[in-house]
Symmetry: C2
Subunit: 307 residues, 2 copies
């Protein structure tokens, strides 16, 4: 962990397993989170886009946070998604995360209204931090403009770092734009900009970023962890390892990502229950399943081995 | 009301007044809703985009629904926004609306995930209708692609009308594209496509649509009601009245709409408390306030008279 409380390395944005009636399967969930850490993840992002957080009610999210809090998972390697459209909900979830011993939250902006001002955006985060009023709180901003339509702008980051330099420690950049990641790292030294995909793990590490938080790391974490280790140990293999990792990541492009990842989990675990997704998301159709399997084969990727 | 339960005419998408600490001001709210009906609105859309619904917790929305249910407002002229990102929340709010005596709900699609399938989109609505299982339920779909990023596609409408012809009665089209409105009205005869702006009130009425549901009708309802009456009575003044109405509506373009409408309410009522907006929205700055007042003057619009 860095001075500011940023954890370095590879984070999986963890999937949430569900029961047949589409409730979060808390037992399978804790087990999946432990498995990801065993597979080489340095940390986990829970209840993010990949975790289908926004498809759960606040009540369901609180139950998930409580279950994680009561588990033996290492709390200092977790961050929990708590950002919603409604300030009271974001506040309640953030407080619950701290109460469960997880001090780092991954916070979406309020994402219903578009075209908001930089000040309004910054104040949305600041009001949560002010109301939580806990020095242990660490906020990683969640920049995912294609999904939210509400980009976290450099000006909003500047306002937040000015007023809340201890609480606001980083950003997950799911824009898919490496230029944005490196530009933010340059503009805000010490601010932890994570790549939102393992495709940019090595470039972001080289630009002094802390690592990546990635959906597909549910499947690729073993390979991604190798890239991180090679970088940390200045091994010459880092570029080759990144190239192979990128090729596997690209398999998931052009497929509905969450459905493809859950489909991959069926292959890895043999558990058909991994297919369950909440609407509006839907499972892969047979042609897509076949495409996924063939493409992973072609990339020479063994799902069970994760490499 | 038409056979299918669609109410014709002018709906204001009602603003939600708030207290100083940004809680919904239930007393001022009921009073505002009554005032809008007195000003010529045929109906009201409550807890929509203009009502800042998604900035409230489910608990707060339930309190608003209960307050409306307990009021003397005519329930058959109201529709309530109940669509959220999470199925359990949408279900709870929809049930509460029916329990409060308001059978028509205006339903956003689950709006976090983008690029969803037509089937997944249709099933999102269908699962709510199936679980509510109340023959009195009337659903108006809420199409607002710029805000949600999740358009209600013709194919999803087709699937819903096939399986739930009694429950799915219409759509609020906030795309701003008149062509989409008239095309849907042509494709689905009897399906009530409301214009999402009073700018297209007359064209949509002429294309056999039921009317409009509009944010700016909080301010312009008197004028919009005149257009509707002129159309209903085949008066030759309808086009001129629409032209004047459109000119006033255009004043709000280029200004943050909700902030501008709340600013206008201050002028109408003299109550400064109308300025309160929940983040991420912010009030007009002084230059914007001045622009609003000057432009309304230039359009010859008297705020207090509403004409």
């Amino acid at each position: 962990m860095t001075e500011s409380g940023i954890i370095r390395g590879v984070f999986a944005a963890a999937l949430t397993p569900m029961t047949e009636d589409l409730a979060p399967d808390l037992t399978a969930m804790i087990s999946h989170f432990g498995w990801l850490l065993d597979r080489g993840c340095d940390g986990l992002g829970l209840l993010g886009t990949t975790g289908e957080a926004n498809s759960f009610s606040v009540h369901e999210r609180l139950a998930i946070i409580d279950a994680v809090g009561a588990s033996n998972l290492p709390k200092d390697r977790l961050m929990i998604g708590t950002g919603t459209c409604a300030e009271p909900d974001t506040l309640q979830l953030t407080r619950a995360s701290l109460a469960a011993g997880i001090n780092t939250v991954l916070m979406l902006p309020p994402f219903y209204y578009k075209g908001v001002t930089d000040q309004g955006l910054a104040d949305s985060f600041a009001r949560i931090i002010d109301q939580v009023a806990d020095d242990d709180l660490r906020v990683v901003l969640y920049h995912f403009p294609k999904m939210t339509g509400v980009p976290i702008t450099p000006r909003a980051i500047e306002l937040l770092l000015r007023d809340h330099p201890n609480a606001v420690v980083g950003l997950k950049d799911s824009s898919g734009e490496l230029d944005n990641m490196t530009s933010l790292l340059k503009s805000f030294p010490g601010f932890g900009v994570y790549a939102g995909t393992e495709r940019y793990l090595l470039p972001v590490l080289r630009a002094s970023g802390p690592g990546c938080i990635s959906a597909s790391a549910n499947v690729t974490s073993t390979m991604a962890a190798e890239v991180f280790r090679a970088f940390e140990e200045s091994e010459s293999t880092a570029d080759d390892l990144q190239e192979r990792l990128t090729a596997v990541r690209q398999v998931f492009d052009g497929l509905p990502l969450l459905a493809a990842l859950k489909e991959a989990m069926i292959s890895i675990t043999g558990r058909e229950s991994w297919r369950a997704l909440r609407l509006p998301l839907t499972s892969l159709d047979p042609a897509q399943s076949k495409q996924l399997r063939n493409s992973l084969d072609q990339a020479g990727f063994n799902l069970k081995a994760g490499s």
